[in-house]
Amino acid sequence: MDVRLDLKLDTLVHKPDPEPHIVIDSARCLECEGRPCTVVCPAGLYVWMDGQLVHNCDGCLECGSCRIVCPHDAIEWRYPRGGHGVRYRWG
């Protein structure tokens, strides 16, 4: 990932939800051509690496772009439980 993006993401405060709020059916990603999730995620959390999709939902900005662009319905998406997730101090 872009080093500068890493530094940018470091400005954020998160309270991770122990139960992941995004679950991926990565078998479906193998058939996916465009993999738009890797393009739209503003935190760069979707990475195509060694022939598979790697995703980590800590650091999620909760914008919902991934679930909207996913062409194979492979992303099971919900908000983190109340009080968890990203906390914008200067939203």
């Binding site: 872009d2 500068r4 993006l5 530094l7 940018k8 993401l9 400005t11 954020l12 465009g34 738009p36 890797t38 393009v39 739209v40 995620c41 503003p42 935190a43 760069g44 900005l61 909760e62 914008c63 919902g64 772009s65 679930r67 909207i68 662009v69 919900r78 908000y79 983190p80 439980r81 109340g82 009080g83 997730g85 990203v86 906390r87 914008y88 101090r89 200067w90 939203g91």
Partner: protein
């Protein structure tokens, strides 16, 4: 003992939800406002400025109390960006008392928390850190919401839970948006001392300016799409946003964070933000294009307001339509409570209340703008380059080689800017003028 049934549960303590809760609490209804953040506003990102028309109605003395950053009375500047140039269109700076409620830059973490607190003072009940996971149903109508902390029963549920609206999707009123119906905002709040901001943007303390930039996202294989960058002045920071339709990002294949990074590197923007330090990096989706049918906004026991109901103006302003729709939803619930009827037919009164606050027309305009955009896309994509070319020609016309340009300046403007986008009657009348102008230009060049 039967569970308590509230008059209304409002999901989401943003501008729409808090406006609705405040209005209903004023009217003496029993209202609960449910927010998933620990504090209202901490899940939101302000990607624009706050228009205060509805706020001034709800809280007449808000100017003395609301946490705002700078008042945007003194400036609005629009720019077209190309890779190595910027064309600044006429800038409006007004130095007089505004006749309509002014607008402000705000931080939603401050503003939403304050606004929700106003609703609480009016005796609405606020539950924070509470995620609404699903709706409660009873005899085919929405009867409340399910949360981790238990169920909340209500006569009406107002979904003011934003673009990824659980209420809209679970009630079946709306499907999740498509990539063509949302834009991704990436925003950076950049620390810069107030005095530097005031010097750099020609402002006095308390005054603010907003800069709008229109540029292009370009993919490796030449695919392009228009997107917007905005630069706002806060008290001692700047907000730099990039706003790209998801569909454009997907088509061009440029990562969202790359679009933002490219903006920071643009020679002009780099100078405007020079010396600043990143305070926070943010992202948020905004809907655009309105709803297909106003009937998608209400159902049995449920109403949608704000981004959940895709209330934005044609150019994507969302906070004020959110408040206006929240206010209309509140009036609808009040009428329904008076009549004791919470069916879809009774709640269709929402359309009338929306019309009262101008939101029916706003929805219609947003839809029209959205629906015609694909047809104009090629023309819009070429616009920044063309405007830069026109500006270069205008400012350097005394250096033009004889015979360098096949068309007069007016002819160039007409063919690149007006003709591709104007309706037929404008093309017809201006086309004739252009034709005569071109003949004169050719004669002059020969002579």
């Amino acid at each position: 003992v039967a569970e308590h049934v509230h008059d209304c549960v409002v999901v989401g303590a943003g501008p729409a939800g808090s406006a609705a809760a405040l209005q209903m609490a004023h009217d003496g209804l029993d209202v609960v406002l449910v927010e998933r953040g620990e504090r209202p506003g901490e899940k939101n990102v302000m990607s624009g400025i706050l228009f205060t028309d509805t706020l001034a109605e709800l809280i007449p003395d808000f100017e003395d109390r609301a946490p705002v950053q700078r008042r945007i009375t003194s400036g609005y500047a629009m720019h077209y960006l190309t890779a190595d140039a910027v064309v600044t269109l006429p800038t409006l700076r007004e130095y007089r008392e505004p006749t309509r409620p002014p607008y402000y830059t705000v931080f939603r973490s401050e503003f939403d928390a304050w606004f929700a607190e106003e609703a609480v003072k009016a005796e609405a009940e606020l539950f924070t850190a509470t995620l609404v996971e699903d709706l409660l149903w009873e005899e085919g109508r929405v009867a409340g919401v399910q949360t981790v902390r238990g169920d909340l029963r209500a006569r009406v549920v107002i979904g003011a839970d934003g673009v990824n609206s659980t209420v809209a999707e679970r009630s079946g009123l709306r499907a999740p948006p498509t990539p063509a119906e949302v834009s991704l905002i990436v925003r950076e709040v950049l620390d810069l001392p107030a005095a530097v901001i005031e010097d750099r943007f020609v402002l006095r303390p308390g005054e603010g300016i907003l800069n709008l930039f229109i540029g292009l996202v370009s993919g490796d294989d030449g695919r392009q799409g228009v997107y917007y960058t905005e630069l706002y002045t806060n008290r001692d920071s700047l907000s730099l946003t990039s706003e790209v339709p998801l569909e454009t990002l997907q088509r061009c294949g440029v990562p969202a964070y790359e679009v933002m990074a490219a903006r920071e590197r643009h020679p002009y923007i780099a100078r405007l933000i020079a010396g600043s330090k990143l305070r926070e990096y943010q992202a948020h989706l905004i809907p655009w294009g309105g709803v297909d049918e106003l009937a998608d906004l209400y159902g049995d026991g449920v109403l949608l307001a704000g981004d959940a109901g895709k209330f934005t103006t044609e150019d994507g302003v969302g906070s004020w339509p959110a408040m206006a729709s929240g206010q209309a939803a509140a009036r609808t619930v009040k009428e329904a409570c008076e009549r004791g009827d919470f069916s879809r037919e009774a709640l269709s009164a929402y359309v009338g209340y929306l019309d009262e606050v101008g939101m029916v027309e706003t929805q219609r305009q947003a839809r029209r703008e959205w629906a015609t955009q694909p047809k104009r896309r090629r023309a819009l994509d070429r616009r920044p380059e063309q405007i830069a070319a026109l500006a270069r020609r205008y400012f350097q016309r005394w250096r033009a080689e004889k015979g360098e340009y096949p068309r007069s300046l007016w002819g160039q403007a007409y063919h690149t800017l007006i003709k591709p986008l104007a309706p037929w009657y404008v093309r017809g009348s201006l086309g004739l003028v252009t034709w005569i102008d071109t003949l004169r230009w050719r004669r002059k060049r020969r002579g």
